[in-house]
Amino acid sequence: MNFLIFQIFLFVLLVYAQHTPLSGTQSSPQVPYNWLTLAFVGSNDYLPRPHYQSSDRDHFKELCRRLDGLNPNQQAMCAENPFSIPFVARGVREAIRECENKFKFERWNCSSRDEVTETRHGKFQDILGKTLRSANKEAAFLSAIMAASIVHSITKGCNTGNLTECGCDSKPGMQRYQADSDSAMSRDQFSWGGCSDNVPYGIRYARRFLDEWESQQFDETKNVAHLVRRHNNFVGREAIAQNIRRQCRCHGVSGSCEFKTCWLQMQKFSQVSDLLKKRYDHFAVQVTRKANKRLRRKERTERKIPLRGNEMAYVHRSPSYCEKNLTAGILGTAGRECIHNSYSSESCDLLCCGRGYNTRLEIRQTQCECKFVWCCEVKCKTCTEEVAVHTCK
């Protein structure tokens, strides 16, 4: 069956190759580099074939070339290690979901008006592209969470054995980690066992995937935005690296801790994104517009203090995100749902930027008065309730 699909695929590829001129196979210049478009990549194309042959290499090379938005370095990585691409894609999707979740009630809700360009390989949607390239605080958060998502999902891929390049960490003792609270008390003997998350591999991968290009670009253009992005990628990776925990299991006689096996585990991605949101809220540092080698804080009195790994960097102040501005990709807050009688960012006053709100009555059906009926059923009534929904003007 697999073979048949492969045949069909090769045929399609052949037809495709005939229709595209040879010179056009390089990535088209109009499309900006935005690797977030990987979010649309399905995992099926990149599965390893049953009998991996050298001819497959060309096949994957072609697949990689179709990914508009990857810069040359990323293209090379894709060709070299195509099976990792679905994991990166999954990471991107997860990161976007988390970002939307964390910014649900703020004026910038992790969305933008994305431009769609027709390319030879289909439609290219510039996901969050305007924000990502803008070097403000929101861009900093995006860079960080995306870098973290790559580390997380590649490491998970290693751990589950879906990636052939890597496996569990064989030397977990070399990593930075925090012992969990109960075993911190007893400084007793333990042995590493189980499958420790191979975070160093994930970090190496993410660094190559994101940072190499930014470094090259900075050397060429001296544009501080590349340096800022590289730093924020680092912040994202650190958010995972700083929070690796040691988990242990005791298996002495009747569960005593005479013999202990421990392994390392990353935090859940939602916790990582929580942490990054905190960094965005409280630890964002404005840096100067020009830099020679490293970023410098804008605040004159603090210039000598280097940026730490928990501080996001940004260059430009953010716009208010209140009014629609299509050239900047800003959707505005009109039509957004807000919460009445609240004092935080989701309150109607703040979210609607003082423009006021409309109220709409919605009838919602909920299950209520649920009862357990023997045996074994739960019966509920449906209640209808009118809910006032407020949306910004």
Partner: protein, 406 residues
């Protein structure tokens, strides 16, 4: 309403055209100009009379106390009253002090509620002590709705408070609730705030600033003016609605307060009375209504004399009597518009890092940018008490950063 003003602004230009272009080419257009002139003069009348709907707020700054023995002279010295309000003043000179403090309270509360926003509720010109004829305030905008509601609520509030204090002789406590005695656990015996009287006074005084529009219209009503009649009528209706909404908010904010005086403070015996909260609470409630104000239009059905207020977008929840309504969307207050004599100035108070505030610089300055001004202020500090009896202080320099819109 914008068109109304536009037309009235056009009078001058049309006059100019009429005079300077008495040339033959323009003859065929002449009847059009004449018509326009006639109607726009009429419209001007209406506009002028509408401007008066808030001008009584200048009362707040009227300095002297009212001389109860000479109502005629005291009332005539007041600025900005309509004929009906003047009549009210002469009849009820004892209430005018409360009305005046009401006007003052309304102005102060409006400025408090709006001090962080682009339009900071500048109503009264500090030089002339008159209400600024800010055109947008008379166009049934949201801001105008707020000012109407807060001013009518403030008059009712102050009159009620003064009644309970016994300042006015004609009103006292509201004892109507004392009938409840014996039915429940508690007994009303206290002095409940006499909101009904206050609301009555507010209705009489504040609403009579509106009536004039109709008389103007009645005098000159012609069939060709039907749409503007409707709009003048509509404005009038909407102002009245908002006045009423302010009073409704006030009435709903009455809270029952009780005092127990049974044995050792037990609540066997209880005296209860209804009392109004601090005026800040009412200001907050009306500000809340301002945020959720409904955009409406006024329609006139065939055969029915009175026009109706209906929601502009029927998908949204219909406004209640206590909700504010408006017809004209507000300007964004970003650019100073020479056609509108606007009066907003922009000074941010919050440093730029506090992004989500309503007075944050990028929002307040409409994205134009801002400048930081550092002031060094001398303050007394390290104060010590010396025996006896002196307090000695050092003077310290304090840096204050202020942000101004460009």
């Amino acid at each position: 309403m914008t068109t109304l003003i536009f037309v009235s602004y056009n009078i001058l230009s049309s006059l100019f055209l009429l005079v300077s272009h008495k040339i033959f080419e323009k003859i065929q257009k002449k009847p059009y100009y004449a018509e326009m002139l006639k109607s726009s003069l009429l419209l001007l009348l209406i506009v002028i009379s509408i401007v008066e709907s808030l001008s009584w707020l200048a009362l707040g700054l009227a300095g002297s106390r009212f001389d109860r023995d000479k109502p005629g002279t005291s009332c005539k010295s007041l600025k900005g009253l309509t004929r009906r309000q003047m009549r009210f003043c002469k009849k009820n000179i004892d209430l005018m002090d409360s009305v005046r403090t009401g006007a003052l309270a309304a102005h102060a509360e409006c400025q408090f509620q709006f001090h962080k926003r682009r339009w900071n509720c500048t109503l009264i010109d500090p030089m002339t002590h008159e209400v600024i004829p800010d055109v947008f305030l008379h166009e049934n905008t949201r801001e105008s709705a707020f000012v109407h509601a807060i001013s009518s609520a403030a008059v009712a509030y102050k009159v009620t408070r003064d009644c309970a204090r016994g300042i006015s002789e004609r009103c006292g406590c509201d004892y109507s609730k004392n009938d409840n005695a014996g039915k429940g656990q508690f007994m009303y015996q206290g002095c409940s705030d006499n909101v009904k009287f206050g609301i009555g006074v507010s209705k009489e005084f504040v609403d009579s600033a509106q009536r004039r529009v109709i008389t103007t219209r009645d005098d000159n009503g012609t069939s060709s003016l039907a749409p503007s009649q409707l709009s003048a009528d509509g404005m009038h209706m909407i102002n009245l609605h908002n006045n009423q909404a302010g009073r409704q908010v006030l009435e709903k904010s009455l809270r029952r307060e009780c005092k127990c005086h049974g044995m050792s403070g037990s609540c066997e015996m209880k005296t209860c009375w209804d009392s109004l909260p601090n005026f800040r609470h009412i200001g907050m409630a009306i500000k809340d209504k301002f945020d959720g104000a409904a955009e409406v239009k006024v329609v006139k059905d065939e055969g029915i004399e009175k026009p109706r207020i209906v929601m502009k977008n029927s998908q949204f929840k219909r406004h209640t009597n206590a909700d504010l309504v408006y017809m004209t969307p507000s300007p964004d207050f970003c650019e100073a518009d020479p056609q509108r004599r606007n009066s907003w100035n922009q000074r941010a108070t919050v440093p730029p890092s506090h992004r989500m505030h309503i007075d944050d610089c990028s929002l307040l300055c409409c994205g134009r940018g801002y400048e930081k001004k550092v002031q060094i202020v001398e303050e007394k500090c390290n104060c010590k008490f010396f025996y006896c009896c002196e307090v000695r202080c050092e003077s310290c320099q304090k840096r204050i950063e202020k942000y101004f819109c460009l």
